[in-house]
């Protein structure tokens, strides 16, 4: 086992679907953030609307936190099941740790076996709540404020969050604040504070989820139209955009299906606005035909692909990085797809904005791939309103003579006219065509035209590669062992590496956020290392296959496919074992 830091708190709230677990967790996360602590959350839930098992974890620290963390300091549990599960040393929650700290719960829960590492803090949650309202969810507020009291969080900070959450002014907000106060005071009066002390601060932090960050990044990137059909875990982005449509001057439409959604977005981009669509694996499968069409017509298109655990409906509320093969293989024939995989919440915003630029400049489909873990957890972020310059790509002047929509160029990029432009009328065709857009397959196929056009389109790949930023690494300079990760596993991989470095194992990471095309500099980075290890949250190692195919390197593969993401200690152990293999 690895030792976790002292200067941080891991908080968890557990219950059943319908118990308000997620919203309780968010209140706590926001309270941490307003106390100047960095925070990362973790959302564990099931494909059920009421009942079952669900929990939400928040890790907070005055130092940056990179993942949900190991260990568990404070558990708030809304039912007996949660108390039993999370205090069990043989916990079976996909890698999460059991409690070694305090448990806050209603005093009516009495039927449990005492665990050695747990300090039990039964409280009259329902009784207190009952004084203010009949709503059973009010007891959550009481429990949360008790948790806040246990680590010395300023009551006013918590009260502020609670007030806002319940609509600021009005009876409900007041009831919640009053009940919270009583819970806070009760804990202080009856129990000692929890053993860890945290350094609070006045640091300004935004708390935002990965899906929302994608939506926000798109707005920064000039998005004007979002068309989609709801699907978990892509919906957090849809809901964010729909609820901010007026504010951000966006057209948002839920269409009859995914096929329609992507074709609408293509129509929007064709006609000159920035449009985007999004879905998860099964819905994206239905979009694949149109991906090739966008590439053939050379229409910009950003597709948000939020992965969940497959195959098929699979585990719809669980995470996986299992859609890479599908995205790589989307649609028949050869054409350029550009695939981004943000590695954290902030990057979900920045890379989405960048994707919109890249799509419009290269006139080809660009994917922003996340996984459920990234889409549905929140992180604190410092500079959310990042600087960004919109680049709308090459556009011809109105009335330009002898306009060729698909002009053969060295870069492969041709100036793109949009409807409404004077004198640039032309046809965009999913059949193979010549520079004017006229079909070459109808009467007489000129193989030379076909070859030229195919090569023109494919040339965009090299043009794009030439401008790729260097691949980022972590503690890699002197590393004998290199761990490849892509997308959301960055934080946990870095932490695992830090843990291993403490044991003097020379290991570093290659952190991929631009998945395809592959950056040729990877070839140099992997040279003369003792071992290349690839970490993926899927069964077969989909990125691993790409890497091997391109760089012909032997690798060790670490996978996880139970629906949960990696936890740092668990991963460090796996990496250590892979090194020993």
């Amino acid at each position: 086992m690895f030792n976790m830091s002292d200067n941080e708190i891991v908080f968890r709230v557990a219950g059943a679907a319908g118990d308000g677990v997620q919203s309780a967790g968010l209140i706590m996360a926001k309270t941490f953030a307003r106390s100047g602590l960095y925070a990362v959350t973790y959302n564990y839930y099931q494909d059920i609307v009421r009942g079952g098992e669900s929990w939400y974890q928040v890790r907070a620290s005055p130092k940056k936190v990179r993942n949900q963390g190991d260990g568990l300091d404070i558990l708030v549990t809304l039912n007996e099941d949660g108390l039993v599960r999370h205090t069990n040393p043989n916990i079976n929650e996909g890698g999460a740790s059991s409690l070694s700290g305090i448990a806050i719960f209603d005093e009516s829960i009495t039927n449990y076996e005492k665990q050695q590492k747990v300090d039990y803090r039964p409280m009259p949650l329902s009784t207190i709540a009952g004084k203010y309202s009949k709503n059973p969810l009010l007891k959550n507020t009481v429990a949360l404020s008790a948790a806040a009291a246990s680590i010395g969080i300023d009551f006013e900070v918590m009260a502020g969050v609670i007030k806002e959450t319940f609509g600021n002014k009005g009876a409900v907000a007041d009831q919640n604040v009053q009940a919270a106060k009583e819970g806070y005071d009760y804990f202080k009066a009856h129990y000692p504070p929890y053993g860890k002390k945290l350094d609070f601060s006045k640091r300004k932090l935004y708390l935002i989820g990965g899906g929302e960050a994608v939506g926000f990044g798109a707005v920064k990137g000039g998005l004007k139209m979002y068309t989609a059909y709801p699907m978990t875990p892509a919906s957090s982005c849809l809901h964010y955009l729909a609820s901010h449509a007026r504010k951000f001057d966006l057209f948002v439409k839920v269409s009859e299906d995914e096929i329609s959604a992507i074709n609408m977005a293509i129509g929007g981009n064709y006609a000159g606005v920035r449009a985007m669509t999004g879905s998860s694996g099964g819905g994206f499968a239905l979009m694949t035909e149109a991906v090739g069409m966008a590439a053939m017509l050379e229409i910009p298109l950003v597709i948000y692909e939020a992965q969940r655990s497959g195959p098929s409906t699979g585990l719809p509320t669980k995470t996986e990085q299992g859609d890479l093969n599908q995205v790589m293989g989307a649609s028949q024939g050869d054409f350029l797809k550009i695939i981004f995989a943000p590695r954290n919440v902030m990057e979900a915003a920045t890379l989405t904005a960048e994707a919109l630029n890249v799509a419009e400049r290269f006139q080809t489909p660009v994917f922003v791939m996340v996984d459920l873990y990234l889409a549905e957890h929140s992180e604190t972020v410092e500079n959310l309103n990042f600087d960004f310059r919109i680049d709308r790509g090459e556009r011809p002047k109105d009335g330009q003579a002898n306009y060729k929509r698909y002009l053969i160029t060295d870069t492969g990029i041709s100036p793109r006219a949009v409807p409404g432009q004077e004198g640039l009328m032309h046809n965009e065709d999913s059949d193979e065509h010549n520079e004017y857009g006229d079909v070459v397959s109808d009467a007489v196929t000129d193989p030379k035209d076909r070859i030229k056009m195919m090569e023109k389109r494919m040339r965009k790949m090299q043009t794009y590669i030439n401008e790729m930023p260097p691949t980022e690494t972590y503690r890699a300079d002197d590393a004998e062992y290199l761990v490849f990760q892509w997308g959301s596993t960055q934080g946990v991989v870095e932490e695992a590496i830090d843990l291993l470095r403490k044991k003097n194992i020379k290991v570093g990471a290659v952190e991929i956020n631009r998945v395809f095309p592959m950056n040729p500099d990877i070839g140099k980075i992997i040279k003369s290392r003792k071992k290349i290890i690839v970490v993926e949250n899927n069964y077969s190692g989909q990125y691993n296959s790409l890497l091997k195919s391109r760089f012909l390197c032997q690798t060790e593969l670490i996978t996880k496919y139970d629906g949960e993401s990696f936890f740092p200690g668990e991963l460090a152990t796996s990496i250590e074992n892979a090194i020993k293999r």
Partner: protein, 282 residues
């Protein structure tokens, strides 16, 4: 002054001689000219099929996309720039098989698109399989023992979906066809025009003669009378009515969306995020 010449494309249509698509091409150009709509503001979105090759043959903005996906693309175009005149064009296979779903929902939304279907009651481009409008007993490559599936009635379907303009025309009557298309384009909202269009190569049943013997011009007493429209739409056999069957005024989707209503989306400035916008996340 816009003349028909302004719409003449440089690519010659490669349809079989006498194919019903020719007169639709002419009619579309004619209607646009009569309405003095500029080529630069005209977008023709098509699917895949013989008919769908049309955008290549007209000087305008053409989008020759995927089989069945005419209307979602056309909706996206319209929503991006509502100043454009957007015409959806495709085959019966395209619209009433692969694209059924989009036809239904786009009509229901009342997006301001003129949707013209070249209905030859067969799959032309793929060399002659039964289509959704092929008649019972029709022998084709996919139904060598005769079609056993009842044909779709595109008109009652359009009505049930909620189209605010429903009409039938015939490729063999180009003047009437032009008039109907003109009215369809003028209509504010979703207009649907089913054009009976002989495929001279593969459909030896529904020929020009077949229709010439049967079609007659229907004049609605009250275009707003849904029941009457439904009834006339059901007529098919010895007599086949052509004309406008139904037209009502109803709010377009573009008028109802709070963002769209502010004017063509392409003209909206890119939103510049202010720090205050993010206070909700603190």
């Amino acid at each position: 002054m816009i003349t028909v010449n302004d719409f003449n494309g440089k690519v010659k249509p490669d349809w079989c001689p006498a194919c019903g698509n020719f007169s639709q091409l002419t009619a579309i150009k004619g209607a646009l000219t009569e309405l003095q709509i500029e080529p630069k503001n005209t977008v023709i979105v098509s699917g895949i099929g013989c008919s769908s090759n049309l955008p290549e043959f007209i000087r305008a903005y053409g989008f020759h996309g995927l089989h069945g996906r005419v209307l979602p693309v056309a909706s996206g175009v319209k929503w991006a720039n509502s100043d454009l005149t957007v015409i959806g064009y495709g085959g019966d296979g395209d619209g009433f098989f692969e694209g059924t779903q989009h036809f239904f929902h786009t009509a229901k939304r009342n997006v301001d698109i003129t949707y013209i279907v070249s209905d030859n009651q067969i799959f032309g481009l793929t060399t002659g399989q039964a289509s959704p409008t092929s008649e019972i007993g029709f022998v084709s490559k996919s139904t060598p023992d005769g079609n056993i599936e009842k044909p779709v009635n595109p008109l009652t379907f359009g009505l049930a979906a909620g189209a605010t303009f429903v009409a039938r025309a015939f490729s063999g009557d180009p003047k009437h066809l032009t008039e109907i298309i003109k009215r369809g384009i003028q209509h504010k909202g979703f207009s649907f025009i089913d054009v009976m269009s002989p495929c001279v190569t593969f459909n030896k049943l529904n020929t020009y003669d077949y229709f010439r013997k049967r079609v007659y011009k229907y004049e609605a007493k009250d275009l707003k009378d849904f029941s009457a429209a439904y009834r006339i739409s059901e007529e098919w056999g010895d007599k086949i009515p052509i004309g406008i069957f139904y037209e009502i005024e109803s709010k377009r989707y573009e008028e109802m969306d709070p963002v769209e209503v502010e004017g063509p989306l392409v003209t909206h400035p890119i939103y510049s995020v202010k720090d205050e916008d993010l206070e909700e996340l603190v």
